[in-house]
Amino acid sequence: MENRALLKERENHILIKESDQTQISCEKPTLAGAVSQRACVFCGSRVVLYPIADAVHLVHGPVGCAAYTWDIRGSLSSGPELHRLSFSTDLSEQEVIHGGEKKLTAALNKLITTYRPKAAFVYSTCIIGIIGDDVDAICKKISNVYGIPVIPVDSVGFQGTKKDGYAAACNALFKIIGTEPVTNIPVCSINILGEFNLAGEAWIIKEYYQKIGITIVSTLTGDGRIDEISRAHGASLNIVQCSGSMMQLAKLMKEKYGTPFLRVSYFGIEDVALSLYNVADFFSDYPEIKENAKKLVYEEITSRSKELDLYKKKLAGKKAAIYVGEAFKAFSLIKSLRSLGMKVVLAGSQTGNTEDYETLRELCDPGTIIIDDANPAELSRFIIEKEADLFIGGVKERPMAMKLGIGFCDHNHERQIPLAGFEGNLNFAKEIASSLCSPVWRFTKKQSGGTK
């Protein structure tokens, strides 16, 4: 491929560690026509609230937004599975002209009487931002009729980026928190924020905490339940993964309930262990927790080290490109790949902020491309230029990587194999190896005279 020039407006969203000393441009609206990998405000809200399994999630607008987000996350539930159904007011042209309030009321009545949910979320899509349905008033009315929270989610697609959708989701959650009394919650108790129980990852993490003596009040957005969320203000500490999406909620809770928070990540041995230790340190009045944590980390690591070593041998020296939604994941992946003997040559995110990109710059090796809100033209160009062997991203990037003749690992929200925790770390190595070590690459041609 000829090396097409980057779009001028995109140039300062990309930097090379060391050769570029300037600050990266980020947290900007997406450039029109750039073929961004981002979605919209609605998407941000929908993915965060999606795993709440005993609530009805009603998308208010024409059918597309609901249809494309039907059952799109691998978020598992240990009980009800209402979240896996897609509900839409499916507005027609006439309703767009005359207003969708009647339809919304009818839809909520129907859904609540049919499914008896613990709550309902009503997502506003682009059209609602234009036609101005009074969603708040309808939600209030319906909530009074049925005695359950009916929460409007202000997720009008064009009113910001995915990140604003996260904020809308946090605001929605915040309305539920504090609505139930808290009694009998032990001191050593936490909420898990920003863990979506993809492939059961929240269950793995919960087990760690329980084993070291910590009680989970709510996992909010992973195998989430309204009752638990209502009591979340009773926990002593909020543990925030996926800070890009959930930090706002942690801050709101700190302000209102005084709940302190810690940022963590459950990807890669280093970060999982650190997370457990940091949480244990928070409860330092109970030294047995730290002892338990040490024991757990030791056991979890040693029981898998032999198998992990086998993969390390296979993966040593390989080069990876990472493109993720939230920057926090890139931090962990860089460390985790390094521990497998691999090198990261490109790292980017859809919604990172200045602080995130500074952290990325510190973590990366010299020469690494750091990129904000990338598109296929840029990603493919740098993959070729940096001769990456592997791409870590989501479904949208998968065929691009494969056409480029390099391996792929799905680390997005559709994954069905847990990649979090110690067991997830081993799965991660396995996943990468199963792509990189496949004999099929013998028949393909890696581009730009790569090393394969």
């Binding site: 491929m1 020039a5 779009l7 609206p29 997406t30 450039l31 029109a32 026509g33 750039a34 073929v35 961004s36 990998q37 981002r38 979605a39 919209c40 405000v41 609605f42 998407c43 024409p62 059918v63 597309g64 937004c65 609901a66 249809a67 494309y68 039907w70 159904l85 897609s86 509900f87 839409s88 007011t89 499916d90 027609s92 042209e93 767009v96 339809k103 009818a106 009545n109 129907k110 859904l111 682009c126 059209i127 234009i130 036609i131 697609g157 064009f158 009113q159 910001g160 598109n375 296929p376 493919s380 479904v395 949208k396 998968r398 065929p399 056409k403 003749g405 028949f443 041609k445 581009q447």
Partner: protein
Amino acid sequence: MKDVTKNACHLCAPLGASLVYKGIQNCVSVLHGSQGCATYIRRYLIGHFREPIDIASSSFTEHTAVFGGQENMIQSIINVINTYSPDVIGVATTCLSETIGDDISMILKEFHKRRGESKTPVILYTSTPSYRGTHVTGFFKTLHDVINQTAIQTEPVDRMINIFSGLFSPAEIRSLKEIAASFSLKTILFPDYSDTLDGGNWNQYHPIPPGGTPIQIINNCGNAQASIDFSFCQKDEISAGQSLFGKFGIPSYRTAYPIGIELCDTFYDTLATLSGMEIPKQFMRERERLIDGYVDAHKYLYGKRAVVFGDENLVFSVSIFLAEIGIDVVCAATGGPKDSLIGLKTKEAFARTDILEDCDYEDVEEWVIHNRADILVGSSRGNKIARNAEIPLIRCGFPIHDRVGAARQNFIGYKGTHNLFDQITNALIEQRQNSMSINYGTM
């Protein structure tokens, strides 16, 4: 009118538009609306085709929504030109841009004015708000609009026909082209995404995947002798063949998806008529084999109860095929608009069939729970219904998100029908085999 749509059995119109634009050579589509529309549609199509699919967006902001989308649209076209150097840009609107009242033709006029003498790709556009129609009507409307905007009549070309495709798989499109070529016909098949959405492994990265109908060839549609138009269950106003008939008097053969003996016969007979040739022997042999297959397996099929769902055109044809082999189509369901299955309602064979239009997957599941079915035929979105009812689902149509090979599935023509026939028959045999206490090694 339903109160609420649960697990919709249709997608929105811009998806259909994007699919049509993938069938034009060196074309990039731009959706005029929020960034999410483009990204969601990309993701949905990639899940099915497993190929790179780039779709640009004019990425509305609040400012755009208030002051109109002209500047964003113009900027996105320029950025797409600079990134992709396309021959064609296909613009489709969304619910957002339509509701604020953006006029694409005015915006394009302004763009061309500003662009002046600079080299500019052909820019096509269509109106596809999500609140009107479905991905299927969006597909045919875009096909119609492209032909309407590009076809010109100069000198009629002998033995040349248009084939206006339906929502076929890439393999099916290849098969249509081969069949038409066997009749010594020059064919303009549009939209042809048989390569763009089912490419090989590449030696170099292509920002726009190779393949598709070149725009110059599409221009030539006005010189064809006839059109075969697969918009069988659609209204006339979105039929490309009908449009060419109105404009240039080119006869249009509205043809059902050729699945099963009866519907394939119609299709091959049309080709024979248009070419003045007899049906080539190879197809007659395929037809004989198919009938032989029907006979061999008829006892496994008679009286079995099938539920068919998806794109109205596919549901129509598959239902007729199933009835032909002795399977009772007990429920035929589509997310397509009211009356889109009117063709089935008027046929005797479906007098006792429950025909659901403008329905969703929960309606289909409800139906299956309250009635008995032996097999489901439709998109992979039916997998929940199949799993709960413990009956097989033959994946067919769009989307197929839980299996590989969607792009290679070929269920049309005599040969393609035989594939579908074997899959259905074997699924029913397997179901019976697994349910027996004795493990029979024979049928």
